[in-house]
Symmetry: C2
Subunit: 148 residues, 2 copies
């Protein structure tokens, strides 16, 4: 029960990033999406859903992976019918990665399900606290100690 803010957050992060916790979260994140979607491929789908069709290099930058990794994941997702490669009309060497309808539907469904699960679990919190927490967490993750 540290009264120290920094330590409390640090410990929470440690727990959150542990393999077991991480895999449990991802298992739920990818539940029912078929075996093509897992901890590794999820960020590809998620990234594409956020930004729309995109080159492999750009996507690699965003999810912090080597381009070769993106290529391989994309191939797996392509074979599963969740993603398609389309030639960039403006640049004939580039290939745009885009979600198929199935891909979009899959990730959207799971996002909904996960969000519902989280909200259920937070239903016992005092009213308003969950909203505040969500905003703070968002701020912490996107503009906090690890993102400059």
């Amino acid at each position: 029960m540290p009264t120290d803010v920094g330590h409390e957050i640090a410990d929470a992060l440690g727990t959150l990033l542990k393999r077991s916790t991480r895999e449990q979260i991802y298992r739920r994140l990818t539940e029912g999406l078929g075996e093509a979607v897992d901890e590794v491929t999820y960020p590809v789908l998620s990234g594409l859903a956020r930004t729309g069709p995109r080159s492999a290099a750009g996507l690699a930058d965003e999810i912090g992976l080597d381009r070769s990794g993106v290529t391989r994941r994309a191939t797996r997702l392509e074979e599963a019918g969740l993603l398609r490669r389309e030639p960039d009309p403006a640049d004939r060497r580039a290939t745009l990665l885009a979600l198929t309808e199935a891909g979009r539907a899959a990730i959207e469904t799971t996002r909904q399900r996960l969000a519902a699960h989280i909200e259920d679990s937070l239903a016992s919190w005092p009213p308003g606290e969950a909203q505040t927490f969500a905003r703070r967490l968002h701020r912490f993750v996107n503009h906090g100690p690890f993102t400059g």
Copy 2:
């Protein structure tokens, strides 16, 4: 910019668990500890610091890893002088994993440094908000949607 609590938290978690973010956090978590300590071995040290000397099996359970993994990490840390194996006086097949003084010092130093970094980054938050956030985060991680 979802007003939806569940989605906002889900997205934040997604970002947080991305490889790039994760590795950045761990890089800072293990900064200056020598190359024996990294994303993989850190939970071993952290777990031992929390619970004291412990059997490999028990530790494996806690950090959600196979026993073989714990064995290997322990060996690495042992060679680096951060951990020592001592026979369990009560059971001669068991080996207790315990931090050495160097191990304890190393992880303590880093915990301090990380906590300070986090607090620095949160210094611009309105007074009290950081404390509240830390408590909520702790609750979310340890008694939230993914820990029953």
